[in-house]
Amino acid sequence: MPKDTLWIERTWTQRQVKTGWIESQWTRVGDFRMHARVSTSPARYESLPVVLVHGIGITSRYWVPTSVLLAPWFRNYAPDLPGFGLSDKPRRTLQVRQLADWMAAWMRARNIAGAALVGNSFGCQIVADFAVRYPELLSCTVHIGPTTDPKGHTAREQVRRWQRNNPGEPFSHKIVSYRDYWDCGIPRVLRTFANSLDDHIERKLPHIRVPSLVVRGSCDPIVPQRWAEEATRLLPKGKLVVIPGAFHTVNFSSPLELVRVMKPFLIEVSRSLEQHQEKAA
């Protein structure tokens, strides 16, 4: 149990809601040691591993609330990508494409296939890139507040929206995200932000063939309703869910709601996977 996230977990495990356990695990991928928070309690639907992909500068740490709530149902993995969190840092800041490659390498090293990829914010850009180039490794995708809205694809507009989002998030979100920015290093955060603006998610979404769920917080200024709807339309098998009262980091500030809306989608996918496997057998 990583000590630094105990307090985040406690706020959830003390409620009358089913939670599981998570622990830190390190995996050697090529020259790098990659850190991930992995759920260790037995999961109800083992056939579908869930991979949680973090956003700019932040790490697996802000997936902890979602992770503990998801653990009784699905085995979930929240990796820190190279350069972020507790993973080793490459000399250069990685592009979206390279981050997706590292995701794939890490998943192969950990023997994860047919996974559900869940991204938040910039994580969705990595998920989209990954889904287009490594379709064999995944079975569905979930985009929580996907960036970047094509109308507002400038650094200035994105920073403005980010500032408008901040007051809505709980105070604990500040503690967690500032700690993560520190772990990552401010220059790397800024360079990753610049890289995220070079990437165009709207060109990749139409090529994602697997079932996809788009989740948006109704108060999220970074992902307006119009863009969430457009993203859902671009996805060949897209579905949109809007959570009332939630802001951009739904997975940190409204994890219970997120798990509740994600669960039926993931269960359906895992059921169809099981049926498929039975047919093959």
Partner: protein, 337 residues
């Protein structure tokens, strides 16, 4: 307790196709709340949902019969899967039967208890597990002022309403150390299509007893209650007065109420015995109001109150002038003399 503001909350309303439920849905929609509407009549629900959506909110329609436990569970589950949360659950769906206690067919009586009482029980059982997970939420049971005092010719309805008040009292105690609130709303006689839709074995057409209040007033009270939860709340002053009177002089109030019901609760028009909407919904009565307020004679209550006030002032003055002079009067009299 509501964790978020009304415009960021999700409310589930049963019996939203007409009357108080419909008024509540629209009032909540005006405040920006996401509403999930349930009732038996899908067409009427769609109409309400359309009106709500016109106000710029999201509204979902899930036709269901509250007397079916699985249907209510399904309702809660679908609301949770669509919006992630339920902040306010309004148990409101109710039916009624008019008739002498022993003459009411037992089948109709059972159905009233099934819908009014078991419907609320199913609602509470479906939503409380989610409330416990969230550690927040408000459950409002819409009872009636007759949950505090009896009424002839509607025994089965009254019994269910008494039971609902008991349910609220027990749940509050059980959920004492959580942030879940259970409130009971006690509306007075309200202008809704309940009286047209109720089963009737009295042989006469039923009507609400005056004073009749607007269903929208109940809806506004209900929203106040959701924002500031209290144990029980009357909606409509007549209910509040009657309940105080009943606690002071129960025997007298029972007698007065019995005579008032006999005199005022029924029109002089004959009516065939009917099952009303007990077993099959009646699509024609899908509005908020039942047209009772318009039919009501202008109320004499304010006039009576004013007359009483004037009389008491005159009486006090007469008494003061005619009693033996002392104190201030003595001084005034001396100064005058």
């Amino acid at each position: 307790m509501l964790l978020k503001k009304l415009e960021e909350s999700v409310a589930v309303i049963t019996g939203a196709s007409s009357g108080i439920g419909r008024a509540t849905a629209l009032e909540l929609a005006e405040r920006g709340t996401t509403v999930v509407l349930a009732a038996r009549r899908e067409a009427a629900l769609r109409e309400v949902a359309e009106e709500c959506r016109r106000l710029g909110i999201r509204a979902d329609v899930i036709p269901s019969d509250v007397s079916d436990e699985n249907a209510v569970r399904e309702l809660a589950r679908r609301a949770i899967e669509a919006f992630g949360r339920i902040d306010l659950w309004v148990n409101n769906a109710a039916v009624t039967v008019f008739g002498r206690f022993e003459e009411t067919p037992l089948q109709a009586a059972r159905r009233v208890i099934d819908v009014n009482l078991f419907g609320y029980i199913h609602g509470a059982r479906a939503v409380i597990p989610y409330f416990r997970e969230q550690n927040s939420g408000v459950l409002i049971n819409v009872a009636s002022q007759v949950a505090k005092m009896g009424e002839p010719f509607a025994s089965y309805y009254v019994m269910t309403k008494f039971a609902i008040r008991g349910l609220g009292e027990c749940l509050r105690q059980e959920l004492r150390d959580t942030r879940i609130d259970v409130c009971t709303l006690l509306p007075a006689a309200i202008d809704t299509p309940l009286y047209q839709q109720g089963a009737n074995y009295t042989g006469k057409v039923a009507k609400p007893m005056s004073p009749v209040y607007d269903a929208r007033m109940v809806a506004r009270d209900l929203i106040k209650l959701a924002e500031h939860p209290r144990r029980e709340m009357h909606s409509g002053m007549s209910g509040r007065v009657a309940s105080v009177a009943h606690s002071l002089a129960p025997g007298l109030v029972e007698k007065v109420a019995a005579r008032k019901v006999e005199k005022e609760h029924f029109l002089d028009k004959p009516a065939e015995p009917s099952e009303g909407n007990l077993f099959t919904p009646m699509p024609e009565f899908n509005s908020i109001g039942g047209g009772w307020q318009a039919r009501e004679k202008p109320s004499r209550t304010p006039l009576l109150l004013a007359a009483a006030a004037v009389a008491s002032v005159i009486g006090t003055m007469t008494w003061w002038l005619r009693r033996r002079p002392r104190g201030l009067r003595k001084v005034i009299d001396r100064m005058v003399a």
